[in-house]
Amino acid sequence: MKQILILLLSLSFSFSYSQLSTRTIEVKSGQMEKFIEMAGKKTKKYNNEEGSARFWTYEILTGSDAGKIWRMRAASSEYMDNWDSNSEESQYWMKNVGPYIKNGSVNGNYMWNYVGEMSHNVDSENQNHVMALIYTYKASGEQDFWRFRERVVAARKAMDTAPKGSMHSVLCSSGCNGNVAIILFEYESFSDQQRYNQEMLPKMIEKYNELFGNDAYEQDGEKVDKALVENGRGRMHLRFIPEASSD
């Protein structure tokens, strides 16, 4: 734990080996199906090979960006250094996908580090419904914030029946204001999420308290609340689009 916290505290001063980046894309009205088809063709053609960048495509379902596309890229430093707007891959995107994007509506670019120690990967199948919890925490609240996340991972791993969907933690390394982390939970659907909350979540909390002491979940959760900046908690739902994503 100590080492992980030092790492996290130092992240502003260290650099990840594989960089995730995200951007939001607004698709022209009525062109979503075509966009997905062409983005999918591009992704399957250029982004499945060893050494290539990998892309994951989501549709944003809630919030002010509902209806837009959220596209996440994982790329090595070598790939990023050699990126060329005139490459065959870039030109293919511009020519075949670009026409379905609203003019000037590829917004922002945010870079993220995947925090493996604070994530719980399971063999997810058909878990295309994603809830993203977006947190902005005070610099001084870093330890309290991540302690809770680490303990949730431990509790999930200790459950008799593992959750069907993974839980991924990413920490913004560049482009955000403040310390922003996103925790992505995978489910099959809204109803599956509801079922998880009714059946599995109480078991996870029970396991959490069993591992870390009576009421630890509640106490740690309160510390997280205090660790956040004002309005530092957001939530959005996403639909993962496998046909427009790397395999």
């Binding site: 130092s10 260290s14 430093s77 000037g104 922002g108 610099a139 390394s173």
Partner: protein, 245 residues
């Protein structure tokens, strides 16, 4: 240490010797980037290439809400260097690229030399990671203590990490500072982890076991809520004054 903060306070009112900078974001209108870049390059070549001309440097913002926009920086050796108004150059700017962008807030910065470290640099390092901080003025000792000690640790360890710290002298809300790390490319940035570790080891050697972790935590506690933001930038030499060193 107290002396340093007193010095910085005094500097807020009378910058006399350290380098100063003026920055602004240029929000380029959709579809106008190519034309904007051409115009900025031409203007800079015409009006900002001589040793006596105002020195302007241009970066492209790579992350955040302003990704793809430009960040224009004027650097002068001292505050007097900002007194001259380049009427002709400004008029040319307005005429050629004025309609292609919206200009953001103007901020002034002074270089905090004790919190900066420049190794021997033999090649261009255009990839820049900028850490913007907003700190509680009542805890500025903790903020600057860490920054100065870290720069010194890099120096004593002889690392190849190039790190510059500037403090906001005007135009910021609250007490602001920015730390720049310069890299050749992303591979070089990745390799910097090793240099950072060397500096941490030296830091603890100089100031005691766990001093780095302790001071870092104090620095973090000195920040305002939401008091840190990180941006990646790419230096564009063809849109900038010649680099002299």
């Amino acid at each position: 240490m107290r002396k340093l903060f007193l010095l910085i306070t005094i500097l807020s009112f009378s910058i006399v010797s350290s380098q100063v900078a003026v920055t602004r974001v240029l929000d380029v209108k959709p579809g106008q980037m190519e034309k904007m870049m051409e115009g900025v390059a031409k203007k800079t070549k015409m009006f900002n290439s001589g040793a006596d001309d105002a020195q302007w440097y241009t970066f492209q913002i790579l992350s955040g809400a302003n990704a793809q926009d430009l960040w224009r920086v004027q650097i002068a050796e001292n505050i007097a260097g900002l007194d001259d108004v380049d009427t002709e150059g400004n008029a040319y700017w307005q005429k050629t690229v004025g309609d292609l962008h919206e200009s953001g807030a103007v901020r002034r910065w002074g270089k905090a030399n004790p919190a900066s470290y420049t190794p021997e640099v033999s090649e261009l390092k255009p990839l820049t990671r900028a850490l913007f901080f907003n700190f509680d003025p009542t805890k500025s000792d903790d903020f600057w203590n860490f920054r100065v000690r870290l720069a010194n640790a890099h120096k004593e360890a002889g690392t190849s990490a190039w790190m510059e710290t500037w403090w906001c002298s005007s135009g910021c809300d609250g007490s602001g500072a920015v730390v720049f790390y310069y890299f050749k490319d992303y591979s070089d940035q990745m390799a910097a982890n090793e240099q950072v570790q060397k500096a941490i080891d030296k830091y603890n050697e100089l100031h005691g076991n766990d001093a780095y972790e302790y001071d870092l935590e104090k620095m973090i506690e000195s920040l305002m809520p939401n008091g840190q933001k990180i941006r990646d930038l790419m230096f564009l030499p063809e849109l900038s004054s010649p680099i002299t060193n």
